[in-house]
């Protein structure tokens, strides 16, 4: 077991012989422990003919195990006041919860059982599938979801793991059942693809010891790596409208594919995005579109680099009459940032903001667990919390300007969902 050699979170990290990675750190602020399990079973791992399978897995993995019925699992969680959140994204399936420290051992045993031995009872799978069908209907009636999903489809292609709808379509979901779930679980949910982070009022060596005993006899080969198709950056400006004339307001999603998380310019991009659409109340975009023009209650940008070139998205909710003006304002801010970069003051303020935000982001057990899970996923090291301020500090104005220069409104993709008639900008 590696011993901590630095200040900060100083987690213990241990890899079992079967490849499972265990990370633990102590925080005694409250008598509680947060668990965060990540498994390489996301959208990109779905068979081509089974879209929606990873999402269905996230909704059914806790429906019973070889050792516990669904009702027993529910009782074990409810009786301790614990809500187990199971979610998925393009790359991973995650299970996360917070429990009282006195319940941590029992909860760990339960979570490992759910991960290792789900049985996918047919009746419960059918019921969860019906709930997904209802959720898909809700998504179709939600302008924000429609705008973002349409934009991601434009950036990455409708069949690409980054571009397709993670829940699949109703037709996709209705084709899926327990047999596909069991096969997918067997292929993708393996110890070598598992990272378990434990943060809270629990001695780290003891936590890792307990987890190790629960996981060490789990055999399994790592699931094969899946190569994602290369991302072709947009060569021209594209726009798509999803008419939803029953709605009161339109949602605008505007964006680009950008960089990989491993790209050395990541920190410059992060600072650039913070200036554009995060700092204060939505960065420069918020100043312009909300504060000066009063056009939107929310406008911001988000930046989600991943294993491939992740998206930078600008989001705004506006009256249909203001859609074109809002898009013009976004163009204006992106153009100015690409042309002039950021000021010395903006650079210094943003670096300071991001660095000094760390104690706040790492104040809760769940926040720590999420941070360490991300550090492990991208190979950032267990001392990433300590190194991060100097990584940010090393970014120059020129670096940020170079990152901004990669954003070109002439190559933006734009999706509009809401009570808006198609036009051109």
């Amino acid at each position: 077991m590696n011993r901590p050699t630095h200040a900060g979170l100083a987690p213990l990290r241990h890899v079992l012989a079967n490849g499972a990675t265990l990370i633990a750190t102590r925080s005694a602020a409250t008598p509680a422990v947060s668990f965060n399990v990540s498994l390489r079973a996301g959208v990109l791992h779905e068979p081509d003919d089974q879209p929606g399978l990873a999402h269905l897995l996230s909704q059914t993995i806790d429906c019973g195990t070889a050792r516990r019925t669904a009702d027993q699992i529910a009782e074990d969680l409810d009786g301790r006041g614990v809500a187990l959140a199971v979610a998925m994204n393009r790359h991973n399936l995650t299970l996360a919860c917070t429990c009282l420290a006195e319940d941590a051992g029992d909860l760990l045993d339960l979570i490992v059982d759910i991960v290792r031995r789900p049985v996918f009872p047919r009746e419960r799978v059918d019921r969860r599938r019906q709930e997904i069908v209802t959720a898909l209907g809700q998504d179709l009636d939600n302008p924000a979801i429609q705008a973002v999903q349409t934009l991601l489809g434009m950036l990455y292609g409708e069949r690409h793991a980054y571009g397709r709808r993670p829940k699949g379509t109703i037709a996709d979901v209705l084709r899926l059942g327990r047999d596909q779930l069991a096969a997918f679980h067997g292929r993708r949910v393996t110890p070598a693809g598992l990272t378990l982070v434990m943060a809270g009022d629990m001695e780290p060596a003891r936590a890792i010891g307990m987890a190790g005993r629960l996981l060490e006899d789990w055999p399994g080969e790592p699931g094969p790596d899946v190569a994602l198709p290369p991302v072709e950056a947009a060569r021209d400006r594209r726009r798509r409208v999803v008419p939803m004339m029953n709605k009161a307001q339109a949602d605008v999603a505007y964006g680009f594919s950008t960089i990989r998380r491993s790209d050395p310019v990541y920190y410059a991009f992060w600072i650039m995005n913070t200036v554009l659409g995060q700092y204060g109340l939505g960065g420069r975009l918020g100043d312009h579109i909300r504060e000066r023009k009063g056009m939107a209650y929310y406008v911001y940008s988000s930046f989600d680099p991943a294993m491939i070139e992740g998206p930078l998205l600008v989001r705004a909710g506006v009256d249909a009459a203001n859609v074109d003006r809002t898009i013009a304002a976004i163009d204006e801010e992106v153009t100015a940032l690409a042309r002039d970069g950021v000021s010395d003051t903006e650079l210094a303020d943003t670096k300071r903001f991001l660095s000094l935000s760390m104690p706040r982001l790492l104040e809760t057990n769940a926040g720590i667990a999420t941070f360490l899970q991300t550090a492990e996923a991208f190979g950032l090291g267990m001392d990433y919390d300590v190194r991060l301020p100097s990584l940010l500090e090393s970014v120059t104005r020129g670096d940020v300007h170079a990152a901004a220069a990669r954003l070109n409104p002439a190559r933006a993709s734009i999706a509009i969902a809401g009570p808006y008639s198609a036009g051109t900008t």
């Binding site: 602020a29 614990v82 709808r165 999803v242 029953n246 009161a248 307001q249 209650y297 903001f353 706040r360």
Partner: protein, 469 residues
């Protein structure tokens, strides 16, 4: 000068305790020891509450005002919320263009919100920003500008917020249900206001509302984090001490009459999904039946806890709850939730149901009402009540983990009741019996007292355009 009272944390002095926040699941009896919350009152009436908590080098500053949508009359609905927005638009000593970055330079975050009883503002940042955060809140209390052009720009922002809410059928139904449930009390109108009022209230209407309610004797300043309580009191006196008190504004005297029978409201709009909501008048937070009602909600839909700022955002532990079993486990609904919120006066207890595709909303409503009516008719099992109490005790710990959350809870309870009510919650929870819960179910959840709302989705030619079926 400050008058100071030290409140005792029920857990101070418990052996082995590191600092578990305000609550611990064991709900220990009060003991003596160091003060947990310092209460001070400035000469102008401002209440100052300080909690020293050295788990992170942070401080959270919240300023609470006893004004919310219940303090608004016809024509001015939404004024409290509009004023909240205007109070981020600069002050005499903080020009609008210099507000950005004041807290961010210390790694901070800030925000505000308005609800039926209260308006609150906060900053959480490095402890080094304490003085700056107090300065911001003092400026907000005494010196906001209300430039006419800012009012007009913010009006369209608020209309955007209002219309964004209308995009969500569940929110639409919530507004209609609440309006139907209250025919007399101002809790009936939406906090954001009716559209025509937001469109027409003037700059002077807003400024009058601000000056009437943003006074030191109508506010509570809460500071939690890596601070020294004596130092906070001194700084509060420095920043707020010169602000003059104002005569207390008149408050609503209206008591909502008991319903004479079931009320129903229907929203019909283009959409894809049906929703059902059930509402009953609920006990206020000071009512002895509030905590039994909280346990009843946990039995019916799973425990959320008491922190509307953080705890109501995720799904609670609920799969063994009666309504999850009756609706979701039977395939009638994809989701069910309950909401009991700590309010000064009797508000609403609501249950919200997302009806599954292909299911008649009437069937889902019937299954819910049958399950609910069984509680007063047949009572509860001991193990259900015990599970609900354990859930709530755990949620009280989880929802008081950060300095921001703890400060929120102290301020919320001081505004709608007193912070002592908050401190007493674990003991009140521990004392709840099955009979208490059954009694509150009989008293509150009678069919003749409920308001039922349904959202009926109408077919649309536009909804699915451009979207994958």
């Amino acid at each position: 000068m400050c008058s100071v009272v030290n409140l005792r944390d029920p857990l101070i002095g418990v052996p082995g305790r590191r600092d578990p926040g305000l609550y611990n699941v064991r709900m220990s009896a009060p003991t003596t020891g160091a003060p947990a919350i310092r209460r001070a009152t400035l000469g102008n009436g401002l209440t100052v509450l300080v909690r020293e908590l050295r788990t992170a080098p942070l401080a959270s500053v919240w300023c609470w005002y006893r004004v919310g949508s219940k303090d608004e009359g016809p024509g001015l609905t939404g004024a409290s919320h509009f004023v909240e927005h205007m109070n981020f638009k600069g002050s005499t000593n903080i020009p609008r263009d210099q507000m950005k970055g004041l807290v961010e330079r210390f790694g901070g975050t800030w925000n505000g919100y308005t609800w039926v009883d209260q308006t609150a503002y906060f900053e959480t940042a490095s402890r080094d920003a304490l003085d700056r955060m107090l300065f911001i809140e003092a400026e907000r209390m005494g010196h906001c500008l209300y430039a006419p052009e800012d009012c007009e720009a913010e009006r369209t922002v608020i209309i955007s917020e209002l219309k964004g809410g209308e995009n969500d059928p569940d929110q639409l139904l919530e507004i209609e249900l609440t309006a139907a449930a209250f025919k007399a009390h101002p809790y009936g109108h939406p906090t954001i206001g009716w559209l025509s009022d937001v469109q027409t209230m003037s700059r002077d209407d807003l400024y009058d509302h601000y000056r009437r309610y943003y006074t030191p004797n109508n506010a509570a300043l809460v500071v939690v984090g890596d601070v020294d309580a004596d130092d906070v009191c001194r700084r509060a006196e420095h920043h707020f001490g010169a602000l003059a008190p104002v005569a207390a504004p008149p408050r609503t005297r209206t008591v909502e009459p008991a319903p004479l029978g079931e009320r129903r409201v229907t929203v019909e709009r283009e959409g894809t999904t049906a929703y059902v909501k059930l509402g009953w008048h609920a006990p206020a937070v000071d009512d002895p039946t509030f905590v039994p009602m909280l346990v009843l909600d946990a039995v019916l839909t799973g425990a959320k806890g008491l922190n509307v700022w953080s705890s109501f955002r995720g799904t609670p532990p609920q799969r063994r709850s009666r309504l999850y079993q009756a609706l979701v486990e039977r395939g009638l609904a994809s989701a069910v939730s309950g909401a009991l919120i700590s309010t000064e006066q009797p508000f609403l207890y609501t249950i919200s149901i997302t009806v599954n595709e292909g299911v008649d909303a009437a069937d889902a409503e019937r299954a819910a009402t049958v399950a609910i009516d069984q509680v007063p008719a047949n009572g509860l099992e001991d193990h259900e009540v015990e599970r609900a109490r354990r859930q709530l005790a755990a949620r009280f710990v989880f929802e008081n983990e950060s300095v921001t959350d703890i400060a929120h809870q102290i301020g919320l309870f001081e505004t709608v009741s007193t912070v002592e009510t908050f401190m007493a919650m674990p003991a009140r929870l521990a004392a709840v019996t099955r009979a208490d819960v059954e009694a509150v179910a009989r008293e509150r959840l009678a069919p003749a007292r409920r308001t039922v709302g349904r959202f009926t989705p109408l077919p649309s030619s536009g909804v699915s355009a451009g979207a994958a079926p």
